[in-house]
Amino acid sequence: MKKSHILAIGVIAVAIVIIISTAGDASTYVNFEQAYQLASTGSSTQVHVVGQLPKDGAGQVVGIEKSTDNLSFSFLLLDDNNKEQKVFYNEPMPPDFLRSEKVVVIGNYQNSQFIAKKILLKCPSKYQEQKLNAGV
């Protein structure tokens, strides 16, 4: 066997390992119901849940509770099935949080509370930004 063949076999083997491990370590996008079921089977896998912040008639986000020191906060999130869930986040509120049109929380259910380890925000692009800022 030529050396180049051995090398090729080695490369393919490493590539297969990489593909399998990526598939194994990949997280999933789920809704709160599925996340809850996953957690109730005893799994502590972190999942992604995509949702929106519920707003009142005046367009204000409702359901935000900050701790007194502003170091952590909780909020309500509506998932794609319109299930509302309180989410706890052990960090200060990220900048632009209230302006975001979509929020992705990465975490899991712990004793029927959803604890987010990380939050990703999707902010509106400029064409959807309807109002000028204060200070105009």
């Binding site: 990489i18 990949a26 995509v50 200060p92 900048p95 692009s125 105009v136």
Partner: protein, 836 residues
């Protein structure tokens, strides 16, 4: 309203777009024409069009800068990214905060590189410039902002769009000419000098991958299968250096500005540019192999094409909005995803089809390479780099797979790994080990003829030195984790073996030593990364035995230190003391104590109450008006060792109520062996009214000393009658006195003067005085003429405080120095290849 300038900008964008297409067409003609005359006349046309294109691009850059610089807030770009108070140097950063500006920056570099190619590469000019101008046409189309009539297709997003066209605010219905007084401002995190130079460097790196690609395509097209390598290689080397530098600058910015304590987060946006860089390095290696031994030509072609395509793919990932659910800092979709996809597919299909057509004709060497040859090891290294890139690319592309499955009607809920850092590190660490071992060993084959016996001889001394250094390192640094041990060993081996080559070459021909220097840099970076990331430790351990707050999580209470003002604590072998809140003047470097200034109605200006001295240097006189950054507060923290000042740190907090929180940036005490990285984890909330303790009364005579809080020596120095209080004249029958009270604080005396006032002969008024640093308030309660005494009232509150977190980052400077060494290596190699 300044309509003209926006229209001019738009016209210039259209000019740049059209001229790039014209130039592409003319260069195409010049390439395909057979007769020399026709060729030359097309070439002249093409150059003329390209110069017009370059002028157009420069014009667009100048117009956009004018709009930002002159604060024309009727334009969306100026309104969204700048503000009246934005310092001049950060106005450049406005360019790259928006997508349009960063496309522009990219085009700008291409334009300059294109001019250099025309000037220096006569024989390659026409075919390479076809590729260049086509790329420019695609980029220009991204900022075209033209709606094609009939099919209602919007092409590109113009940076010259008016605010009223970008936003639906009702005010524009009432007042179409409305111009906001101030802009939205630049994201505070981007107001940093690294953010001024990081994006241009990165985009220069992007732009530098185009020449090798263009040479390669031109080579395939013109059947000059082997000749293209020579002109392409120096550009690849320059690109490898600049792109690497740009990426690390981004990491350094994150380290200095964000408070996650690291420089690399394995975010998809970071990965998207890391992968092409790895492949670029691999392509440099195969090109060098080809130049030396005529092997690996086909791999060079594949890799050079892959680098450019991967950069286009990175652009697509970052700017199409596809990463929206996966990344913290991808751009949002500007409606360009379709255009970006066409850009990507055009060059992908074009390059691949061309390569397939020509594949059979490309010469390749059939001889089997020996294990004891340099080529074998370089090829092995390049393969490892490709696998390293593949491992990152695969999970980063998960959102793309989901999209593709969706397009075909399926549904996929795959998400990127939840813990990115852990996931990528566990693979990249071993790839790092492999790269170090392969490139360390490969260096012994620098001279072509070497066999097993000779190799053993050559390797013996470096191996012994490596082991010696290794034993020494682990004994000092106490590394026990097996993976880290192996990485340290591999890194040291890489450094030592390249030093050996370097010493030999220094005698023979120092010009050839760029590669050895670059590899030493890589070895240092590996070791720096391993120590700073693997052995970073929290040093701000709460050793008081008391919780900072019951409401805070346990981890926070354990890893953070509550510092009261002027009360020393101990941390990491230092005495640490919080000295108060500071402001940063705009015009001078230094810090101003908040106690020494008075606020004005303009939040950007304060007035000095006394002479402002910073580190023995007088910055301002009393009563000077000082311009400041109102959103920034710095917390002065002193570190002392054996009573001597070791460092004054000024970690920053930006309070931004509109954004609902605070953003902390660290300050770093740098020593060669380790950085002490300190940031505020909880600032005091100044909005809340302080809770004052019970009033305590003391009767004192003038000159009598007494103690406040049983520790501050206090003297009532003088009582004087005054005619006015804070600029208000008193009526003739009113009586007012001012007490001058001196309080000796921990570091300095404070003199305060409460007032006592009798108005209309019966109404008593009292104006207390506060000493912020000591947390006390003194009131002149009464005057007792019978005993010649004065009654003072004293309230105390909790002293000012701040909660900080500090981390020790061992050997992080080895990473930065290694980066620098790597750049020197790239520079040396590049100079040599350009000279050829």
């Amino acid at each position: 309203m300044h309509y003209f300038i926006g229209n001019l900008g738009h016209l210039l964008v259209i000019t740049a777009f059209v001229t790039s297409l014209l130039s592409a067409f003319a260069y195409w003609k010049a390439t395909t024409q057979k007769e020399i005359e026709g060729k030359n006349s097309w070439l002249i046309n093409a150059r003329f069009a390209f110069v017009a294109h370059v002028l157009g691009v420069f014009g667009v850059v100048a117009v956009l800068f004018t709009i930002i610089y002159k604060h024309y807030f009727e334009y969306h770009y100026a309104y969204a990214h700048s503000s009246l108070h934005l310092p001049g140097q950060y106005m450049l950063s406005c360019y790259w905060e928006g997508q349009e500006g960063s496309f522009l920056l990219w085009m700008f570099w291409h334009a300059i590189i294109g001019l250099i190619l025309i000037k220096t590469q006569k024989s390659w000019e026409a075919p390479t410039m076809v590729v260049f101008t086509l790329v420019q046409a695609f980029l220009a189309s991204m900022i075209l902002g033209v709606v094609i009539p009939g099919i209602d297709l919007k092409l590109g997003s113009s940076p010259f769009i008016l605010l009223r066209d970008a936003m639906d605010d009702p005010i524009f219905k009432l007042q179409p000419d409305f111009i906001p007084k101030d802009g939205n401002g630049l994201n505070a995190l981007l107001q940093n000098y690294w953010m001024v130079i990081h994006p241009p460097t990165l985009f220069l790196g992007y732009a530098l991958t185009l020449p090798p690609f263009a040479f390669c395509i031109a080579g395939l097209w013109q059947k000059k299968y082997v000749e293209w390598v020579k002109p392409a290689l120096p550009w690849s080397l320059l690109g490898g250096g600049i792109l690497g530098l740009g990426i690390l600058m981004g990491g350094y910015w994150a380290y200095e500005t964000l408070n996650f304590g690291g420089y690399w987060n394995w975010d998809p946006v970071e990965n998207a540019v890391y992968v092409p860089w790895l492949i670029l390095i691999a392509s440099i290696h195969t090109m060098i192999t080809y130049k030396n031994s005529k092997t690996a030509l086909k791999s060079s072609i594949i890799l050079v094409i892959a680098v450019f395509l991967l950069l286009l793919y990175a652009t697509f990932l970052v700017r199409s909005g596809i990463l929206g659910d996966a990344s913290v800092h991808a751009f949002t979709d500007l409606g360009l995803s379709g255009q970006l996809l066409i850009y990507l597919l055009f060059f992908t299909l074009g390059a691949i089809v061309l390569a397939i057509i020509r594949w059979k004709e490309i010469p390749s060497s059939e001889k089997e390479v020996s294990t004891y040859s340099r080529e074998f090891w370089i090829f092995l290294g390049a393969t490892t780099l490709c696998l390293m890139g593949f491992q990152v690319l695969l999970p980063t592309s998960i959102p793309v797979y989901n999209k593709i499955i969706e397009i075909f009607g399926g549904a996929s809920n795959l998400a990127p790994p939840a813990n990115q850092i852990e996931f990528y590190s566990k693979f990249q660490l071993w790839f790092g080990v492999a790269v170090a071992l392969i490139s360390g060993t490969g260096q012994f084959f620098w001279w072509k003829k070497i066999d097993k016996e000779k190799l053993k001889q050559e390797m013996l001394t470096p191996l012994l030195i490596t082991l010696l250094l290794f034993a020494f390192t682990i004994a000092i640094a106490k590394v026990y984790n097996p993976a880290y041990l192996i990485l340290t060993l591999a890194g040291l081996y890489l450094i030592v073996s390249n030093f050996k080559v370097l010493f030999t070459l220094a005698k023979l021909n120092p010009k050839l030593s760029g590669g050895a220097v670059a590899h030493i840099g890589i070895g240092m970076m590996l070791i720096g990364v391993m120590f700073s990331a693997g052995y970073s430790k929290v040093v701000s351990l709460n050793n008081t035995g008391m919780l900072i707050s019951k409401e805070l999580p346990t981890e926070f209470n354990r890893d953070n230190l509550l510092l009261f003002i002027n009360e020393p604590r101990s941390m990491a072998g230092y005495d640490i003391e919080y000295r108060g809140e500071r402001l940063e003047p705009r015009q001078k470097s230094g810090f101003i104590s908040k106690n020494d200034v008075e606020l004005t109605l303009d939040p950007f200006k304060v007035v000095a109450l006394k002479d402002i001295i910073f580190q023995n240097e007088k910055l301002y006189n009393a009563k000077d008006t000082i311009e400041i950054f109102p959103e920034n507060t710095f917390y002065e923290i002193e570190l002392r060792r054996d009573g001597k000042l070791a460092a004054s740190l000024f970690p920053r907090v930006q309070i931004n109520p509109a954004m609902g929180g605070f953003i902390a940036s660290p300050d770093i005490k740098r020593k060669f062996s380790r950085d002490l990285y300190t940031h505020v984890s909880l600032p005091m909330n100044r909005e809340e009214e302080p809770e004052w303790g019970k009033l305590e009364e003391v009767k004192v005579k003038i000159g009598e000393e007494f103690f406040i809080n049983s520790k501050y020596s206090t003297t009532l120095e003088e009582i004087r009658r005054v005619d006015e209080i804070e600029g208000v004249k008193l009526a003739a029958e009113d009586v007012a006195v001012q007490a001058m009270i001196k309080v000796q604080g921990e570091h300095e005396p404070y003199t305060v003067s409460p007032f006592f006032l009798i108005k209309n002969k019966s109404q008593v008024g009292r104006l207390p005085a506060e000493i912020n640093d000591l947390g006390i308030k003194i009131t002149l309660l009464n005057i007792l003429p019978e005993t010649n005494e004065f009654l003072l009232g004293i309230n105390a509150r909790q002293k000012d405080w701040v909660v900080i977190k500090a981390l020790e980052k061992p050997l992080i400077n080895v990473l930065w120095v290694g980066t620098f060494v790597l750049m020197i290596g790239f520079g040396m190699a590049m100079v040599r290849r350009f000279k050829e």
